[in-house]
Amino acid sequence: MSEAPFRYSPGDVVRVRTGPPEPHCRTPFYLRGQIGVIAGIAGRYRDPSLMAFHKPGLPERALYRVEFRHHDIWQTEAGPDRIMADLYEHWLDPATRETPDAP
């Protein structure tokens, strides 16, 4: 399998796609449409949405650790808390964030 370069690097701002629906999807609903920052590249893994149906899960998907601000997701008062999730590249679009990171 040819390996495409990783599309995102740590620090890049991304928005989680809202769909399309995918069986055995590993992108939680509460993060869809949310803006986060790439915290790290986790590597390439077989696609679990295909492996769940006994397919080889190829090509492998790039996986990232993505950091979200708790208050962005739940519309609460700004605070230090963060949520980290592991998301596959095909669920992420480039984005910009209007409010800079809280200290």
């Binding site: 939680p28 509460y30 986790a42 590597g43 679990p48 996986l63 708790h70 230090p80 808390d81 963060r82």
Partner: protein, 207 residues
Amino acid sequence: MPHDHDHDDHAPIEDAGAGEDELLEIAIRELLIEKGVLTAAQVNGQIDAMDSRTPALGAQVIARAWCDADFRAGLIAAPLQTIQATFGMNMSTPLELVILENTPQVHNVVVCTLCSCYPRMLLGIPPAWYKATAYRSRVVVEPRAVLDEFGLTLPPEVEVRVSDSTADLRYLVVPMRPGGTEGWPEDRLAALVSRDSMIGTAVPSVP
């Protein structure tokens, strides 16, 4: 016979018979064995391997990380390889382990909101609450309230970082070494490291 004795508060010894899921498991297992795909010994071997993994393994790893800076650096850079090379336990898995270090500024807590992903290779079977909808849904929404219920109240300036293991990574929290344990041997330190402190719903303390 008169009812003149007490009953201990234990689960019934005889269960009520197999439920639908259990019957399905038995049917599939027996078919796989009958068709020669698996042997009964392999099934039992796998159960034994799973049962042999307990939080004591994880606690041993944490205690070593507290005492040995080189081990800690290796653990962070290549967790499974370092654990296998140091302790000899077989860590071969397609999954990757990620080490989350607690600091005075950041407290980590782990969840799998989608199912029950858990670092079984080091901690064994997850506790029932880890798989419960209440924990899985609430800890990402109100982590501080959930931690309060576990008896862990964190100052507002400490970042609570919830890691949702949604895919191929598994997370192990390295708690901070409690004060007053200078010079303790590793086995005494390991006894302070609870399962929950490696999930992030507790922190070790000196009794």
